[in-house]
Symmetry: C2
Subunit: 235 residues, 2 copies
Amino acid sequence: MPDDEREHPEVVAVLSPANTLTAVSQSTGAEPESRAARKERTRKALLDGTLELMADRSFAGVSLREIARTAGIVPTAFYRHFASIEELGVVLVEEGMRILRQMLRDARRTPSTKSAGASLDILVRQVRTHEAQFRFLSRERYGGVPEIRRAIATEMKLFVSELTVDLSRIDGLQSWDHDDLEMAADLIVSTMFAVVVDLLEADRPGSRSEAEVVARAERQLRLIMLGMSGWNPGT
Amino acid sequence: MPDDEREHPEVVAVLSPANTLTAVSQSTGAEPESRAARKERTRKALLDGTLELMADRSFAGVSLREIARTAGIVPTAFYRHFASIEELGVVLVEEGMRILRQMLRDARRTPSTKSAGASLDILVRQVRTHEAQFRFLSRERYGGVPEIRRAIATEMKLFVSELTVDLSRIDGLQSWDHDDLEMAADLIVSTMFAVVVDLLEADRPGSRSEAEVVARAERQLRLIMLGMSGWNPGT
DNA sequence: CATTTGAGTGCACGGTTGTACACTGACAAT
DNA sequence: ATTGTCAGTGTACAACCGTGCACTCAAATG
């Protein structure tokens, strides 16, 4: 073994050297997948593989080589898809925030989202179906490398202002000025985010169960809304 | 250069090999510092140096060698103080949480802490005088290695239950059952923690100013307390 | 005084990392 | 049919990593 990795011997079994087909184990039959499609496939493998590797580590803790390895390509080929690992990270941020925004849109469409329970249900479902992405966001929001942290912060601010607009349309909040609305939106978002973290940790030894987490969050949200109903805007 | 670091040439200038005095640049005159005191000094240098190195990176991103280097000792000497880097991390958690608890105690002693402004002032002061420790806590709370994350979670739960007891002594909350009190305490703590993060980021390009952060937090806290005053316990 | 202790040293090791470089060969376009 | 593109390859290197080992020598111990 000269220097580099010599794993995935099954895929390398094809003896011809520099065989392009070695990458991303060709699962589908023999259909001649288009070039662009193949590229997109390994790109996705890189992104998904990174999230997988982050099950128990932070983004800074996974190496370019590991990522390439799990995607089934050689380290240097990574650069065909991303200029750096940070760039991959930023893409993951965008992907995650797209899910978050989708969730807000779902909540908007659902009738009576002003009841805390309904919105929480949506949150729980989204977290469960996109665990890895939410874990990535919560883990890197404060802990990540500066570039990624800034990317999340920016997207987060956008998210808050979207919710601010939503709030402004609710009966009884029309008289509120923008600052108060944003203040409340910020409080709601940060509370919801704490729920996300608890959900990801839930049903693990030494943690509260999912039901408990949701029940508590629901009461917290109701308490906030109760405060809002008594709030004297502009103070 | 065979393998290892060859930095800090000034300290190595003393030509005698394996000179113990090379560690932790002897700043004070020539007083014969006791052995235990010297050990404590490098131990502190290791802890402080780690926090310093974490100015722009997460705990997982600093290496044992770097830590030893900034403390002025050789990498292997690190093990005279900690069995592993994780152990050092856990000590940092304890140190940080001691500060947090001290803050709660300060707040308890201050009259009229039920007014949001007073408690926030204490928070801001503590964050400013212990920036590095708070940065460590906020960065590793969700992003850190499992061992440290668990340590912080445990201490955090303790902190919430301390605040729960405090709340139970406030006029008008005596009728609340324990679950409701804890729910409110949890909400307050997570909101305050969000403030800490904002404070650490404040006055940096692209972020809100400290005054804005405090003003918003104060209103958020007032909103929560308003909600509590109208809360119907046991629902 | 002689002896023990232990914080610190220097060297060495096997391993991993990011990335530069020259390459190949299947697909796409001409 | 010829050519160009470019995702993927293998080799190589210098830097860094954690840690084992045998050491030194000032301070503490008796």
